[in-house]
């Protein structure tokens, strides 16, 4: 158990380091000069040279990486060279929108998809199964941002039940802020819920074929009792694994959804940074997103022994 945790922690730290290399390399090693990208058509050889010196681009790539990653280890993501604000501060600010949005999205998806998937498996090949499977197939095909646009058209513009976009801020208007996140979270949950319900259904179907369920049935439990008492917990491991992968998709989804609902989240910051050519900010925000995904997968891996005691003995 201790060895399992230790091994997983080491992989996590190495992955964080590798993620920092990937983020840095994509923006630094690829052909293309950030200085000329920033200055665009107004670039002169002199202005290019002075900007390169200011950004440290005149030094070797390795020296640049060592400085950036050294600061990163101290928790310092640097200062934006466009708006001169602390990059870490801006990211933390934006996470106060993105994390609640992602959590609401995944919570809604789980709330709908787990019962739906279990129901579809329990009523295998009956009407309920067909209806749920068809709905999830449709949900898989709908782009989350299009669902968002349709919600805005009807629930915000036409019937004015929810705000069409914008975010009042948690401290100014808590309920208003919560309300502003409802439609974006529903749009995200729609697609993720559709995916999740399919995995829940097949995980439960698989478990229901296991010997221990047959034994439970032989002891006199009904199919439903056997499912509740023995099936669900055993179906949990593959479902929890998928949840981890879904969180990555969900975080990527927030980038798009924040754009539909004009929410000041991390994705919105990333897009602004790209359009302003604020590459240091892009680098920092991209690393933070990757780090969050790695962290969630670490937590999920470490939760296996809690869900399934058999993992503890490995």
């Amino acid at each position: 158990m201790a060895l399992f945790t230790l091994r997983r922690l080491v992989i996590f730290v190495v992955s964080l380091w590798a993620a920092s290399v990937i983020v840095f390399a994509l923006l630094s090693v690829l052909p293309g000069d950030p200085a000329s990208v920033i200055l665009g058509t107004q670039a002169t050889p002199e202005s290019l040279a002075s900007l390169r010196a200011e950004l440290g681009l005149d030094r070797s790539v390795v020296a640049q990486y060592l400085e950036w990653s050294g600061d990163l280890l101290r928790g310092d993501l640097g200062t934006s060279y466009i708006n001169r604000l602390s990059i870490g501060g801006q990211i933390v600010d934006r996470l106060s929108v993105t994390i609640p949005l992602a959590v609401m999205g995944i919570a809604l998806a789980v709330l709908v998809a787990v019962p739906a998937g279990v129901l579809a498996a329990a009523r295998h090949r009956k009407t309920a199964d067909t209806v749920i499977s068809t709905l999830s197939q449709l949900g898989l095909a709908v782009p989350a941002f299009w669902a968002g646009l349709v919600f805005v058209t009807f629930l915000a513009v036409r019937w004015r039940i929810f705000p069409a976009g914008g975010f009042p801020g948690w401290s100014d208007d808590f309920l208003g802020s919560l309300k502003a996140l409802v439609l974006p979270a529903v749009s995200l949950a729609l697609v993720q819920g559709a995916i999740l319900s399919r995995y829940v259904r097949s995980a439960v179907l698989e478990v229901m074929n296991e010997d221990f369920i047959r034994t439970a049935r032989a002891k006199g439990l009904t199919r439903t009792e056997a499912l509740w008492r023995h099936g669900l917990r055993n179906a949990a491991i593959p479902v929890v694994t998928i949840l981890g992968l879904q969180l990555a998709a969900l975080l990527a989804g927030t980038v798009v959804i924040e754009s539909v609902f004009v929410l000041p989240g991390l994705g919105n910051l990333l897009l602004q940074a790209i359009s302003r050519r604020d590459l240091l900010l892009v680098q920092g925000a991209a690393f933070v997103i990757a780090a969050i995904i790695l962290l969630v997968n670490l937590v999920i891996d470490l939760s296996y022994p809690l869900i399934d005691p058999r993992v503890r003995r490995r």
Partner: protein, 289 residues
């Protein structure tokens, strides 16, 4: 061999029809997209890039425009038709990148085992932390926004999926007698993988490629919607939705058509993937209850 023997393992007629329905509906939807894209090279009802501001926001059927016109008076049907080319182009190249990089990586992991396998698997775990949208934003930062950046990003993001599926499918095949026999008379690992393993896992890979195609359509639409994928004036379904968002209070139906086009194409590829899985892989049928 007639009589009861043939019935062994055969599922009920209703179920088979249901599965065949997946395949047929999938094929029809994908076929419509492909035919539309091909036809758009020769014919569209109007010039898709023809801007006629006086004709803007025409409704369905108005002045010969089947689905109306957009904010610049461009014919929506023509735009959608030409947009399907972009969708297929990005899908083919993105899935192509994922396959060309992912299959050798997964094959290497399966054939070599040991630290090579560990390395490939840990790398693919790591790449899961970089969803397509994030990779695309990074590539756009380095290369500027373009269809090319979007395609490379989507392709790279799917490499770990293809690598994992290839490895997972290849491992049991490598244990089969014919692979062991080839090994015993001295065939190289690369030869065995290409000659004996690949044909046996082709069906799994075809199904996976179909599903990835659906995901690539969604990813391209999202990137173009964000303005970091296909650039104007090339028509793209995702960017049409971005334009539609600006005019959502004036012309709410504008957002309907490109969204439907995306959803139906994705549905088509997903159903095709499901249908192919049932048709190509009888083992899955036995495992399923």
């Amino acid at each position: 061999m007639t009589g009861p023997l043939q019935d062994v393992g055969r599922s009920s007629g209703g179920r088979q029809r249901w599965r065949r329905a997946n395949l047929v509906v999938g094929l029809v939807l994908v076929g419509i997209v492909v035919v539309t894209a091909v036809v758009s090279f020769f014919w569209t009802p109007f010039d898709p890039e023809q801007v006629t501001v006086a004709d803007r926001f025409f409704g369905v059927g108005e002045a010969g425009h089947w689905l109306g016109t957009d904010q610049l008076g461009r014919d929506i049907v023509s735009q959608l038709m030409v947009g399907s080319r972009n969708t297929l182009f990005v899908g083919v190249l993105a899935v192509g990148i994922a396959i060309v990089v992912g299959i050798p990586l997964g094959g290497l992991a399966a054939v070599r085992r040991g630290w090579v396998e560990e390395l490939v698997m840990r790398l693919s775990d790591l790449m899961f932390a970089f969803p397509a949208v994030l990779l695309a934003i990074l590539l756009v930062g380095a290369l500027g926004p373009s269809t090319r950046s979007a395609m490379i990003a989507i392709g790279l993001a799917y490499v770990p999926i293809v690598a994992r599926v290839t490895r997972g499918a290849a491992l049991p095949v490598l244990e089969r007698d014919f692979a062991l026999a080839a090994r015993s008379y001295g065939r190289g690992r690369a030869f065995i993988f290409v000659r004996h393993v690949l044909p046996n896992i082709a069906s799994v890979l075809i199904v996976q490629a179909t599903v990835l195609f659906a995901l690539a359509i969604l990813a391209e639409a999202a990137l173009s919607f964000l303005g970091i994928g296909t650039q104007p004036p090339t028509p793209s379904w995702g960017r049409s939705l971005n334009d539609a968002q600006t005019f959502i209070s004036v012309a709410p139906t504008l957002a309907l058509w490109p969204g439907l086009a995306i959803a139906l194409s994705v549905l088509g590829f997903n159903l095709l993937g499901d249908g192919l899985r049932d048709a190509l892989d009888p083992r899955l049928e036995i495992g399923r209850t």
